[in-house]
Symmetry: C2
Subunit: 236 residues, 2 copies
Amino acid sequence: MAKVDTSLVAHLPLFAGLTPEALDEILREARSARYPKNSAIFEQGADAQSFFLLLHGHVRAAKTTPTGEQIVVRYVAPGETFGLAMAIGAARYPATATAVDDSVVLIWPTSAWPRLVERFPSLAANTLQTVGTRLQESHTRILEMSTQQVEQRVAHALLRLAKQSGKKLDHGIEIDFPISRQDIAQMTGTTLHTVSRILSGWESQGLVESGRQRIILRDPHGIVVLAERSADSGAA
Amino acid sequence: MAKVDTSLVAHLPLFAGLTPEALDEILREARSARYPKNSAIFEQGADAQSFFLLLHGHVRAAKTTPTGEQIVVRYVAPGETFGLAMAIGAARYPATATAVDDSVVLIWPTSAWPRLVERFPSLAANTLQTVGTRLQESHTRILEMSTQQVEQRVAHALLRLAKQSGKKLDHGIEIDFPISRQDIAQMTGTTLHTVSRILSGWESQGLVESGRQRIILRDPHGIVVLAERSADSGAA
DNA sequence: GTCGCGTTTTGCGCTATCGCAAACTATCGA
DNA sequence: TCGATAGTTTGCGATAGCGCAAAACGCGAC
């Protein structure tokens, strides 16, 4: 039985309102595992045999169409759960999860969920909360895709990433996991070409500093301005 | 205390796994109300004082940007819940709900939710299920918006509406509540002009019959074909 | 039955963004 | 150290769909 230190996870929203004993009991059902950078954690369409809690690293959840196009559903940050197919009554994973950095996760067998929820009802309530929040964010994303131009969507996406996983530097905020132009394109519903053009433009305005799979927001406020303006043009 | 007939709602997923007594207790906390066609049920940004279960009619949930653009988040069909802001820990409604037809709803005060969940944990589990399903659908919608052209998105939207609220006629399936071109545009991320053009096209191909705020799918299968083809052109 | 208003249709020019192709460049492995 | 490889940049033509405007139409009200 893998032993997990409760103090590391006790403060997570998922476990809010649980006694240390309860938490201990829940963690006893989990095992932990390490996934190296770029390895698959589960594939879209596979049997949902487990659900996960990310401890370290970063995970990308992506959905693929029958014709092979992909979108990034979200990036999972440490402390967040993913692969909750069972909670929504799905037998198969609706997306593919990939470690974008060396990652450590806790893994519960899906079969343990009903029992856990029965013993600890607040687990269901807490999960409802996070799923609800994700639904909100999803709607916001749809709203953006419907009403905003690509440049604004990219701006919003980067700001969100910075908020979720930004590492503060003295000369800006760095998104602290590898992310490609293609990834950003798949988050915003455009092509890597367009993303590249936009970032190049921003770079020449001093708004960002972006290299290979690496992005630093030099002037977050400037990007906020970009994200919020409604339709007119910017600097030449 | 408004009396509600339990037999009408006992089979709903929300109440799955509850005893008749429990259901009775839950319903005792609700009151019912009628909203005439085109009346507002709640406004985006207002205090989330209640949550709702639709008994009859149809409700549109729409989200508005600061600049006034709208999108339709979903259409609520009888038997579905809406206005669940509290379940996700939001104090205000994230969208506006409007009755698109004369509608009857059950209304619970938001303040009753924590107590109900504590007494009947399966409420939380059931709600998690439906919210999770909506999250899925949301992701599918994002995927469509990212990868498909407008015509296919409109096709998918109509097929979904037909599935959810279609009335079977001998010459097709009618969407049985009033819906405008503008509404469809707001569901698919386009303009009413484009929707109008598309429907006109389909009408001349005999795929649909569409009048003022009314749509009949004459050839659902033909529309499925449209929805699924990936990129090439159609008939002239 | 007629009038008026909200909805729908349609034309037309415009442009944001795609899609392809080619050049370029960090990074990693031998 | 030098390629090989994957990611990025950039140019350029093509086009789907927008946006504006005007006309036609259907429905409900009186």
